[in-house]
Each structure stands twice: as structure tokens, then as C-alpha cells.
């Protein structure tokens, strides 16, 4: 067995090394590539704890193997007491007390409110995200499946749900917080660098839970302000002939019963607001690129792309109608 054991451990060692090489830490959705203050704090905690955990694990396994490998040397009669009281009681108490204090000290900053007076309400719905920027005294700016934040500013998000429990999670910026029907939860995010990050729903919310993603765009203050002002504008009427036909189709097919395009007759509220949908990064909550092809696919086959979605299929429309609709939506920047 000894030989086998050694071979076994060699395999495990190789595995650990291999996995580390395989993964790295970066990625648009990685907690270990932090771009926000909360995520950075938690990553620090993670690395510290991981170092400790690996050391403790190695020590215990080493000890276990020693008990098998031991040949002649008789252990001291005091060894059991030392092992049980020292290793099983004193050491854990010391380590865990320190760790608990560290963890508790990390908690208040992660839960703290922000100084900013900006209010953003994000609502989880099966299976997409409604995002509203509340403007004091003005009409809220509503969009879907995309959140933009200025870099360096701590912003408190108000989280709600309209149907089932969802969980709002942007791994690169900070921890997740659940969206619970009947309750309002809060999450403060403070991005520390610009970029585009990916957020997802973390709580199982039904069939297409896996298809409920969104983009977070962090930009500098000016660009953010420019973007917000532009989002507050009504939609620009279509000008290109194909898009104009698309706009007519949009109205004729009844899309406005569910969707709003501000500045037009479409004022439905149960589905994503499409006023500036062409300017967003994705279609269908992180599913497809926001290009004419993407719109066309989505409109023709929402049930296949996102099972359980409330969006009805428009596959019965002829191909050129779908093209026209896509052109119209793509043009809503």
C-alpha cells in the first residue's frame, strides 16, 4: 500500500499543479480578478484562508501517513495528549478565533451604505433584469439587462423581484444579494477600474436560470453622465427604409403591448424597455450579440433559446419582416 499511497499522492500533487495552470484567475466573471472594492476585500480573505487551509490539510495528511509509515520508533507516551489537546483543541481555537475576528471585521464595510445619492433599482424577472435609474424629480430612466456605473463611486443598488427569488451577482465587483418577492434588499458596489463585466443570476429561478445574465459597464464619470443623459432621451424615429418598415411592423405585431419604446406608441411595461436597445451589449439577457442577426434569432425562437421565457415566438413572420424588425431595433441606439 505504501507504494500505492505515494503514487496516489504524486497524482494529487500533479493534479493541483495542473488545475492551477489550467485556470488562472482572470475572466469577465471571476471573483479572483476583482474590479470592485468589495470583490477585492473578499479575494484577499480568500487567498489568506486558502494558504492556511492548504497548510493545515498538508499537516494532517502528513501526520496520517506518518502513522502508517512509522516503523520502529516508539512515540512518546505524551504524544496522544499533545495531539488531542494541542492539535485538536488549542490550535483550532487559536486559528479560528483569529479567522472569525478577521471575517467579522470584514463584514461591516461590505454591508455599509454608500454616500452617493444615486439610486438604482434592479428588479429580477423570469429571466431578465429591469434596471431603473431614479432621477430626483424626473422620470426614471429604464433599461434592461445592462447596468452602467461610474468608476470610483460607491453606489447602492436597491434589489427587488417581481416573481420568484433571483440573486444579483457581479463576481468581479462584489458579493451577491438575493432578490426576494415582497422584500427589498440592498447591495453597495464600488467599481475600482473601468471595463465590461458579466453578471448572472445566482439563485435558481426556473427553467432558464442559466440564461439570465447581464453586462456591467464601468466607465469614467463623464462618459457615464453622457450615457445617462442619452438614455433619458426618447427613441429616435427610424429613418432607413428597412428600419421604418420594422417600426411599422413593431406596432402592427403588437410588440408594444409588452415593450416600451419611449417616444412611440409602444408603452407595455411587463417586458424589457427597448428605447435604446440597439445600444446595449446583448439581446435576451446576455444571450446573443446586439446585432441584426441576434435580434432576428431572438424574435424567431425565444422558446428555444430561453425555455420558459414569457416572450412569444414570432417565427410565423416572413424572413424579410424579421429582418426589418431587427433593423429597427438595432437602430434604437
Amino acid at each position: 500500500m505504501g507504494n500505492n499511497v505515494n503514487r496516489g499522492w504524486a497524482a494529487i500533487g500533479a493534479l493541483v499543479a495542473g488545475t492551477s495552470a489550467l485556470v488562472g484567475c482572470s475572466g469577465p466573471q471571476s471573483t479572483l480578478d476583482p474590479a470592485g472594492r468589495g470583490a477585492a476585500r473578499i479575494a484577499e480573505l480568500f487567498w489568506g484562508m486558502t494558504a492556511g487551509a492548504v497548510a493545515i490539510w498538508a499537516a494532517m495528511i502528513g501526520l496520517a501517513l506518518y502513522t502508517v509509515a512509522r516503523r520502529r520508533t516508539e512515540p512518546s507516551p505524551r504524544a496522544p495528549a499533545l495531539l488531542i489537546v494541542g492539535g485538536g483543541v488549542v490550535l483550532p481555537i487559536v486559528v479560528l478565533t483569529g479567522l472569525l475576528a478577521w471575517g467579522l471585521a470584514a463584514l461591516p464595510p461590505l454591508l455599509a451604505a454608500s454616500d452617493s445619492d444615486r439610486t438604482i433599482v434592479v428588479t429580477g424577472e423570469q429571466f431578465w433584469w429591469r434596471v431603473r435609474y431614479l432621477v430626483p424629480g424626473g422620470e426614471a430612466v429604464e433599461l434592461a439587462n445592462e447596468l452602467r456605473l461610474p468608476v470610483g463611486e460607491a453606489v447602492e443598488l436597491q434589489l427587488e423581484s417581481r416573481d420568484v427569488i433571483h440573486s444579483f451577482w457581479v463576481p468581479a465587483l462584489g458579493g451577491k444579494v438575493d432578490m426576494i418577492p415582497g422584500r427589498r434588499t440592498r447591495l453597495t458596489l464600488e467599481p475600482t477600474r473601468t471595463g465590461v463585466f458579466r453578471g448572472v443570476c445566482a439563485e435558481y429561478c426556473g427553467t432558464s436560470h442559466a440564461r439570465m445574465a447581464f453586462a456591467v459597464v464601468v466607465s469614467d464619470e463623464q462618459e457615464f453622465a453622457r450615457w445617462l443623459a442619452q438614455q433619458a432621451e426618447p427613441a429616435r424615429p427610424a429613418t432607413e427604409p428597412l428600419a421604418v418598415r420594422g417600426q411599422e411592423l413593431f406596432v402592427r405585431s403588437g410588440c408594444g403591448a409588452c415593450h416600451t419604446v419611449r417616444g412611440t406608441v409602444a408603452d407595455g411595461v411587463i417586458a424589457p424597455n427597448l428605447t435604446h436597445v440597439g445600444g446595449r451589449l446583448s439581446v435576451g439577457a446576455g444571450l446573443l450579440a446586439s446585432e441584426p442577426d441576434g435580434f432576428q434569432h431572438w424574435i424567431a425562437a425565444p422558446e428555444r433559446l430561453k425555455p420558459g421565457s414569457a416572450m412569444p415566438s414570432f417565427a410565423m413572420l416572413p424572413a424579410d419582416d424579421l429582418q426589418a424588425l431587427a433593423a429597427y431595433l438595432e437602430g434604437l441606439e
Binding site: 481555537i93 479560528l96 478565533t97 472569525l100 475576528a101 471585521a105 461591516p108
Partner: protein, 120 residues
């Protein structure tokens, strides 16, 4: 030898005494905090009164544990030597150890009151 009935009352239940003190301390602290934040202070309120209450709970609980631990210790040392007192010694020893564990767990819980100051 004790009778069966006395044996039930005095012996085995003692093992649950220390953990039960921990459980009461824990639930009281949790319920006090939860009710305070939900009904009185509001979700941004201060935790002041709860922290005081937790300090009181902690000192009462630690006092109870000291008593149980002391009785466990006395039972260990006062029992007859040899097989006759072995189960008594064992129960005394186990209740002493359990009070130690409960005390650590209670101190951990009270550590929370040191770091957390608001209902957020």
C-alpha cells in the same frame, strides 16, 4: 447504588446542560437582534441596546457554564476509585469538556457584538 429514577434525573441529562446553555444564549441573541432590527431600530438603525443585552446574556451563560463545569470536575474527583465510579467520572469529565466547548462558542457569539454595530 442509586435507583433507576434518580439515575435518569441526575446523570444523563447533565450532558445536555452545557450545550443547552449555549443554545439558549445563541437563540436569545439572535432573536433579540432580529426583533430589534425588524420592529424597532429599522434596517439602518443602531444596535446599541442589543449589544448590551448580549453582554448580559453572555455573563449569565458563562456563570451557568462555570457552575456545570465545576460540578463536573467535582464529580470526577469525588467518585469512588475503580470501576464503581467509572461512569460517574466519565459523565463528570464529559460535562466539564462540554462546558468548555460551550464557553468557547458563547465567546465567539459575543465577539460579534464587538464588531457589528448597526442593523445593516
Amino acid at each position: 447504588m442509586t435507583t433507576e429514577h434518580q439515575e435518569q434525573r441526575e446523570s444523563l441529562w447533565i450532558l445536555t446542560a452545557a450545550p443547552a446553555i449555549w443554545l439558549s444564549h445563541f437563540l436569545l441573541s439572535y432573536i433579540t437582534g432580529a426583533i430589534w432590527c425588524a420592529k424597532f431600530a429599522g434596517s439602518d438603525g443602531s444596535l446599541g441596546a442589543v449589544r448590551v443585552a448580549m453582554a448580559v446574556y453572555t455573563s449569565v451563560a458563562l456563570g451557568g457554564l462555570a457552575l456545570i463545569g465545576w460540578r463536573g470536575r467535582r464529580r470526577t474527583s469525588a467518585s469512588p476509585r475503580g470501576e464503581a465510579g467509572a461512569s460517574d467520572r466519565f459523565l463528570g469529565h464529559a460535562s466539564l469538556l462540554l462546558s468548555g466547548l460551550a464557553a468557547v462558542a458563547i465567546l465567539y457569539a459575543s465577539l460579534v457584538a464587538v464588531f457589528i454595530r448597526s442593523c445593516r
